[in-house]
């Protein structure tokens, strides 16, 4: 009895411990990026983000001018009772009193630092990255006569609004259509139902990239290129197969009795759909909404092709690409950019989260 309890405790400890470890491993890179987003470029490239935690390091107490001391780095040197060659001093010679003498620089420009081992931490934080990401970078131009003028860069506001304008309809439209379709596939009898459903499932494996050129050609004929309607339709089309399939699994698993009693009471398909199916499928709709929203929000390629012809409609993903610069020279801004662009998807996720797990399980119960 007792040993059984003990065993259970050990087991749960192992499971929880493993989970905690996994969570830590998963979170550490994010934490690193988060810390880096508050550091300036030189700090990021010269020391690791973990240097914000206290560590022991040799820090200079004072300097000795090697030229004034008349030291010849080509031979054995005598510094304050310690002697050694240039190579030895460069690596650092520890003295008996716990100090260290280190030659900094090369033979020509060198100086000797007297260092002590102390606890230190690199706390040099800045908001510059966020300011540049949110407020836009300024570009300075110098005219031949020496006068300077500044061209302000774009800020994030426009990109955020554009991304929202793309993402919200691109999430809602496919869900509405897919819900109708799923209901029809699940509860209405019509010829070719099975075949059409198989076709939709087959569409799940078609990569969207192969559709880019033909769709762009059609859009050009319809004069839709570079409009929001174009990208809504594209995302709707690309998302519809998965949406229909997921919602079908959920809607077909709803209890038959409820629907039948409604039909007996004289309800039409439309009434049943709006009054029963939609309210009952909120968990499935919400979980798909999260998927679709995240996908559309993070999409770069589709937006580039169908919306890229119109620079006014720059999305957050495009803005992020621009922030790093044509040759990636401003890579350090991506840290802050990542967190800024993360805010909205996180909000969406947490506000719909309570439906999420229920919705995911929903489709899976029915075999």
């Amino acid at each position: 009895m007792k040993s059984g309890k003990r065993q259970k405790q050990v087991a749960s400890l192992v499971v929880n411990g493993t989970l905690l470890l996994l969570v830590l491993i998963w979170t550490v890179p994010t934490l690193g990026i988060f810390v880096s987003s508050f550091r300036n470029r030189n700090d990021i490239s010269s020391s690791g983000w973990w240097k914000i935690f206290p560590y022991r390091d040799w820090l200079p107490v004072r300097e000795i001018d090697t030229k004034a001391a008349g030291l010849d780095p080509n031979g054995v040197m005598e510094v304050e009772g310690t002697s050694g060659t240039f190579e030895e001093f460069r690596a650092g010679i520890e003295t008996p009193d716990g100090k260290r003498l280190t030659w900094i620089g090369n033979k020509r420009l060198g100086k000797i630092e007297v260092q002590e081992l102390v606890w230190t931490a690199t706390w040099n934080f800045t908001m510059d990255n966020y300011e540049q990401v949110l407020g836009g970078q300024d570009f300075t131009f110098t005219k031949p006569d020496g006068s300077e003028y500044i061209v302000p860069g774009d800020n994030m506001t426009g990109a955020f609004l554009n991304s929202l304008s793309v993402a919200v309809p691109s999430t809602v439209i496919p869900i509405l259509i897919a819900a109708f379709a799923a209901y029809a596939f699940a509860w209405m009898k019509f010829p070719g139902r099975r075949e059409m459903f198989i076709l939709i499932v087959a569409l799940l494996v078609v990569p969207l990239q192969i559709a880019l050129v033909p769709i762009l050609r059609d859009y050009k004929a319809l004069n839709l290129n570079g409009t929001f309607l174009a990208i809504w339709l594209a995302h709707t089309g690309f998302g519809l197969a998965l949406a229909t399939y997921l919602l079908y699994n959920y809607i077909s698993s709803l209890p038959r009795d409820i629907l039948e009693s409604a039909f007996i009471d004289g309800a039409s398909h439309f009434t049943v759909f709006t009054r029963l199916i939609l309210p009952l499928s909120v968990p499935a709709l919400a979980s798909f909404a999260i998927f679709q929203f995240l996908w559309v929000w993070n999409d770069y390629l589709v937006a580039l092709i169908f919306l890229g012809g119109n620079p006014e409609f720059e999305l957050v993903t495009q803005r992020m690409a621009a922030i790093a610069g044509a040759r990636g020279q401003d890579w350090h801004l991506l840290t802050a950019g990542a967190f800024v662009s993360m805010i909205l998807p996180l909000l969406v996720f947490f506000s719909l989260q309570r439906y999420f797990v229920r919705g995911l399980l929903a489709g899976s119960v029915k075999g």
Binding site: T140, F141, T227
Partner: protein
């Protein structure tokens, strides 16, 4: 259950709101185009034409454009920089004078995935009016398909030869047609050094390869590593090594051989190419000469490579890279104080002072008068004024004068280019994509990493050359 209607109301409100947001946006962008067309005003515009701040070729479309003949039209330009990244802003600054003078709107739609999106756009029949190709080799496919107009059709020979050095025109010539006009370029044969520390240490700028090798040994004897080298660049890892190879080709063999190498008639597995690579290998593979040693070259990003040079005291003393590298120097570094540059010294005097460059060529897909006008504008150095005043590139036109540059650094590099006895375009950018942006990078990286010997690597590159 009672909550559900509220949820749906909210969802529909959000949808409505975002749709309204959208319906406002396009209206705002189209409005200027809609208000401008009343083109009955050329009479008032005409006197202003004489005051345009750039040179106008007599008898061309640009001359008509500055009288307002095409006011209200739009020209779409695609390219490899994002419209609002630093280079994109410099580009827009350069064409602003054109827009102001002509009333033509330049709609720049470029992005970093230019190579992928342009092929989709062209394929779908939605080609931009003008495309800014950073690698002329990439335009070759479109030339073969007959999609690109010959600039000689609308720009007279006399004008082109007045604006461009013949070398630039040769480099823009693909399959017998002059496919585009060069706009701006980067100088690559440059070595950067930490000027203040360098002067304090009393090092001398080397003017020959022997002097450079002596200096390397001197710096190594003084306890430092002379060079910082990094070739990591994601999918493009290795391009830094191809630049060194090209610079060495120009310095150890004739221009004819260089051109033959670019054209594919001189194989990689020839003594000339081998010698060029072996020359820089002397430096690269000496652990005393490279910061971090040979093994760190492959894993150091080209962006991070120059940074140790700015440590106090410097951890390395020289870094070879094109003039765009200043963007990667630590913030606040000052030209002529914290860093300076010198010409990558020649190896063999008999090949003179060659200069390696890479640049952007403008090609025209859609032939309309207003597009011609913009192409014509790209043949004058004022079109690159954003870069001349903001730094990062030089004007490709021989009519560009040092006093057009606002940035001394770029003016100094332009001076070096003028002093050069010959110049050639980055070979890997001209070679077919499979080689120049593929096997050359890949196998030179293996060679640097030591996983392939030189012969194997060169044979492997030759094998990928398309028939």
């Amino acid at each position: 259950m009672i909550k559900k209607p509220v949820l749906w109301t909210m969802v529909s409100l959000v949808v409505l709101a975002s749709m309204m947001l959208v319906s406002c946006a396009p209206a705002a962008t189209e409005a200027p185009a809609a208000t401008e067309p009343p083109a009955a005003e050329p009479a008032t515009e005409a006197p202003a034409a004489a005051e345009v701040p750039f040179t106008v070729m007599p008898g061309g479309e640009l001359e008509k454009a500055v009288t307002g003949a095409y006011t209200g039209t739009t020209v779409t330009v695609d390219g490899a920089m994002e419209g609002n990244d630093p280079d994109g802003v410099k580009f827009s600054e350069g064409v602003k004078a054109f827009e102001d003078a002509t009333g033509i709107t330049v709609n720049y739609i470029g992005n970093k995935e230019f190579e992928a999106t342009i092929s989709v756009r062209v394929e779908a029949g939605d080609a931009p009016d003008i495309a800014d190709f950073p690698q002329p080799g990439k335009a070759a496919g479109y030339v073969k398909d007959g999609l690109i107009a010959d600039v000689k059709d609308f720009l007279p020979e006399s004008w082109l030869s007045q604006q461009y050095n013949q070398s630039w025109r040769d480099m823009a010539t693909i399959d017998g047609i002059e496919a585009g006009v060069f706009h701006r370029f980067n100088g690559k044969s440059l070595v950067w050094y930490p000027k203040d520390d360098w002067d304090a240490a009393g090092y001398q700028i080397p003017t020959t390869w022997d002097e450079l090798m002596t200096l390397n040994q001197q710096i190594a004897d003084d306890g430092d590593t002379p060079w910082c080298i990094g070739i990591e660049s994601g999918a493009a890892t290795g391009w830094v090594a191809t630049d060194w190879t090209e610079d060495m080709m120009l310095r150890t063999t004739s221009l004819e051989n260089y051109d033959a190498w670019v054209a594919g008639t001189l194989p990689f597995d020839s003594p000339e190419v081998k010698k060029a690579i072996e020359t820089w290998s002397e430096l690269w593979f000496n652990d005393a000469y490279v910061f971090g040693g040979r093994s760190s070259i492959g894993s150091t990003t080209f962006q991070a490579a120059p940074v140790p040079m700015f440590d106090d005291p410097p951890k390395c003393w020289m870094h070879k890279q094109g003039n765009f590298v200043t963007g990667f120097f630590p913030e606040g570094s000052e030209a002529d104080v914290d860093y300076g540059f010198f010409y990558f010294p020649p190896v063999d005097d008999s090949y003179g002072k060659p200069f390696l460059v890479a640049g952007d060529v403008m090609v025209m897909f859609n032939d309309r008068p207003e597009v011609r006008a913009l192409m014509e504008y790209f043949t004058v150095p004022e079109s690159a004024s954003g870069f001349l005043q903001g730094g990062g590139a030089l004007a490709a036109h021989q009519t560009a004068t040092p006093d057009m540059y606002g940035v001394d650094l770029e003016a100094g590099i332009a001076q070096l280019v003028v002093e050069a006895t010959s110049f050639r375009f980055d070979a890997s950018d001209l070679m077919p994509g499979e080689v120049g942006a593929g096997s050359f990078w890949e196998h030179i990286t293996s060679y640097v990493a030591g996983s392939e010997d030189l012969d194997t690597a060169l044979k492997a590159i030759d094998a990928t050359w398309p028939e």
